[in-house]
Point group: C2
Chain length 344, copies 2
């Protein structure tokens, strides 16, 4: 019976055995393909319905395709993947259920709003790191049209959007995590608490999520005894321009300056000037697709040595919103590092 | 670096270190309190709104109260619980988010429809069993009124219900899992796949879920090399009378006879003759509250030596249903055993 424990500080965990990223893949829609990261995505689909009849089925197709691509890159088949850790933004996770059903892989369904990309990587790492599985997959998705229909207004309504509003990314990112050595390793996680600062505006998700991001970043630095500069990048999921400013300010009040290393997937994925995307991109697919397409290549070639990946989620539904509840936030942090060939 | 792996067969896992149930608690509504298990629940609230303004807030109160009671029984405070693994049936898990926020404990939000009670116990066991935490909590809830509003019709509509329909349980069950020795131990889990048999009737959840239950029970027996009689009870979550018959038939076709040991929480929790509950109880709270109130006391005193607990979920939303999608099922199995005082 093992006695050693792998908890670190208050909210963090390291793993009994090494956890590597075996492969990843990103699938996005047309608008994302036209954005600054366009070249980097594995698949861009000109038809935002992905050949399906409904927006929800289109989102399912995103997840299905992303997982197929990630398995293809790793030379794996569904039977090589022991468990799936997956989720999306839709009520009752239907994009995930209907997208991944055909693979016949045991599924842990997850919901952490747009933080689910971090939650899925966290639980998948814990699973491989404990020796429960050799290879598992973590994946998430979002779709602009299914999210607008779910959370705001159907597209046909053509409502106006305030500048603080983010633009839900049509995209999915899938990650195969494995105990087999590769050049990118997940070395730790910090799991976030729900933080409620009383925000009530569902068109200002950045403000709702920034306090949760600040909380989990601070905790990660404390738990691992690090400074912001120990990370090449601290990468939040989808705070956008509005949320980024709040995050940096909140941490400055705690005497933590991340302004030199902070980046946000929602800011990277769209061109604010030409794409009309308001405060930036958002959604479960935003951080996942950006991690796969933009950051993992840099972590693989060593251009980036260590990042803190912090997907951020706003916990609301139309029901909670219409009943006057606040929009609390949650964020989960994952430490991802480049591994040199020679190092052990 | 550890080398041993803890995967068992195709879909199961055992744990590097022992995982015990430190305490549990159940909170239910008036109707459940009037049912056959009434005496056994820790708290029965005569007001189904639990003093709150909305049905969703009432469901949040269920989770909050159940966790408070479980912590109280174990003499623990929120700071003693490292992570929460929790979920519910509502869109975007709002009962969980708003119910557990005030505890300020890091949260993994889960969604597996009514199988979430099994999913949460599985992931919580994996966490403690790997040495990531000393104590964590697994909890789920459902509420008749919030579920009817979410999935079927608002109560005010007073729709007719077919006999195959189940009655969503107003209840929550919370479980503290710990590495500290107690008389009940979780010794393994088997994680289920999504199984779609083409059921389209959202008023016949039992039929939708039975194939998934059959699949994971068969896999559990195979993975651990057991026969049905190696379990004192094989306990499904909420198949009801309709689903029970289908489950037993499906397994008989596989030459597995569980008829002598099968019980269903949905059948146990209500009196079919006097309570007008159709095929039986259902919901995330049904299996969780019944495990806590009915089975755990028997596992504690040794009246029951080993059970297979198999919460069952139907994966649908009103959107997927209205768009003509099937209602696939999923189920997750958890092996729970009595531990003798003297044994090691």
């Amino acid at each position: 019976m093992a006695k050693e424990t792998f908890s670190v500080g208050e909210q963090s965990v390291i793993f009994p055995r090494d956890v590597y990223v075996a492969s990843s893949a990103s699938v996005v829609g047309k608008k994302e393909g036209e954005g600054p990261l366009g070249e980097a995505f594995d698949m861009i689909c000109d038809d935002d319905k992905f050949g399906e009849d409904t927006w929800e089925q289109a989102e399912s197709a995103l997840q299905k395709e992303a997982l197929a691509l990630a398995m293809g890159k790793a030379g794996m088949k569904p039977k090589d993947v022991r468990y799936l850790f997956a989720g999306d933004l839709l009520g009752q996770n239907i994009a995930t259920s209907f997208g991944l059903m055909d693979y016949e892989i045991p599924l842990f369904g997850l919901y952490g709003a747009c933080s689910t990309a971090g939650e899925s990587l966290s639980l998948a790492s814990m699973c491989v790191g404990a020796g429960y599985a050799k290879t598992v997959a973590a994946l998430t998705s979002s779709h602009f049209a299914s999210a607008e229909k779910q959370f705001r207004y159907p597209l046909e309504y053509a409502n106006q959007r305030p500048v603080s509003a983010t633009w839900t990314v049509t995209g999915s990112g899938a990650f195969l995590l494995s105990c087999k050595r590769s050049s990118v390793r997940i070395t730790g996680i910090t799991t976030g608490k729900i933080v409620d600062m009383g925000i009530k505006d569902s068109m200002n998700m950045g403000a709702a999520m920034a306090p949760a991001a600040a909380d989990v970043i601070k905790q990660n630095l404390e738990d691992f005894g690090r400074r912001p500069s120990d990370y090449d990048k601290i990468v939040t999921g989808d705070l956008g321009y509005v949320g980024q400013e709040i995050l940096i300010d909140l941490l400055k009040k705690e005497k933590i300056d991340i302004s030199g290393v902070h980046e946000d997937c929602g800011i990277l994925i769209f061109d604010k000037e030409t794409q009309g995307t308001g405060s930036g991109g958002s959604g479960c697919g935003c951080s996942a697709a950006t991690l796969s397409a933009h950051y993992l290549p840099r972590l693989t070639d060593g251009g980036c040595r260590r990042i803190l990946f912090v997907p951020t989620g706003a916990l609301l539904s139309t029901v909670s919103f219409n009943e006057g509840q606040n929009v609390p936030g949650i964020a989960h942090a994952v430490v991802i590092e480049h591994m040199d060939e020679e190092a052990e």
